[in-house]
């Protein structure tokens, strides 16, 4: 009986967790990629995701997140004279909806990529530092101090005493 309940609970938890899956479900903060605007062009979505990855890989996220994410902007798309064939082959899956026979559509997608890249970058780096603040973690500015692994752990996000402490009388929400 206990075994059965255990199985059901496990199944429910897995179902709930998987229902919010993004492409990066296996990385910390993978859920943030679900914020990519769904109505965007393929170039828009790719640019946002690359921006987000780059944002999470900044010092805003500290050493832990920097080990999972890094700078991701595609120099070929950012190029003033992009090689369309190269880009098409590189992003077969992500940019498959682009009409590669229509130069206007290609340019629009690449322009969207470059425009929204910084939007995604900004959002995700603010989300990560906002999340860390809820657990009283503030990644040090480079060269400010030595990284203190004791003060930074993924488990800290479950701490009650961070900025998100909603208990009455503990201060600010």
């Amino acid at each position: 009986m206990v075994n059965k309940i255990f199985k059901i609970v496990t199944f429910l938890i897995f179902s709930l967790v998987l229902s919010s899956c993004s492409n990066y479900w296996y990385k910390p903060m993978g859920w943030v990629f679900n914020h990519v605007p769904k109505e965007g062009s393929p170039g828009f979505k790719l640019g946002w995701i690359h921006g987000c990855e780059s944002g999470l890989g900044t010092q805003f996220g500290g050493a832990i997140y920097q080990s999972f994410y890094s700078w991701k902007r595609d120099p070929d798309i950012a190029s003033a004279n992009p090689d369309y064939n190269l880009i098409r082959k590189r992003y077969k899956k992500e940019l498959k909806e682009v009409n590669w026979r229509d130069i206007k559509d290609i340019k629009r997608n690449l322009s969207d990529y470059n425009t929204i890249f910084w939007g995604g970058h900004y959002f995700c780096r603010q989300v990560i530092i906002g999340t860390l603040h809820t657990a009283d973690m503030a990644p040090p500015v480079a060269d400010e101090e030595r990284f203190n692994p004791m003060a930074h752990s993924l488990g800290n996000i479950f701490k009650m005493t961070g900025r998100g402490d909603t208990r009455i009388g503990t201060g600010l929400w």
């Binding site: 530092i129 603040h133 009283d136 009455i168 503990t170 600010l172």
Partner: protein, 191 residues
Amino acid sequence: MMKIKFLIFTLLILNLNSCKWISDAGTPFYSMTGIKVPPGTPTFQKGFRDGCETVTYARGNPLYRTLYKGYRFDPKMIGNSEYRFGHSRGVSFCFMQVITNVHSSADNFLNYYDPTMAAQDYNTVGDGLFDGGVFSQSITTPGNGINGIFDVLQKGGGGTTDSAFTGNPLWAGGSVGQFFGQSYSGTYYGQ
């Protein structure tokens, strides 16, 4: 008697007219915050709201993350400079709002001088100036307590020894030609 009543009534009406909630009645506010959406075209205002929601979610605490949906940017408006202008204005304005102490919880008066939004033990943060604050420390110890408040004037800032009144801030450091207080380097002078 009637005249006095009429006078009082008129005065009350005039007073109430300038009540904030009446004068602000037509102002569009960003929902659940005290943030005003500035006047502008609907496109600009839409951009402002989207930008505001984006950053309120990103830097806000879990309460705001439940109130707001998250990243907001209308991909169809990506070529609209007015929308993007509003979006960037919304982001920058609301960023300052959300990281400071403007719209916080109803119990924020309990924590009256901590602008960091870091929840702490009330018994620690509520000590004020006297119990553990600067007034509780020695008045005469240099660099400490209330004395330390005047360090900037006395010493020109932390780490320096000259007073702003006795040392020349431009040529601070001595008479060997340092500029802006840069330290004397023996190697540089060939010694």
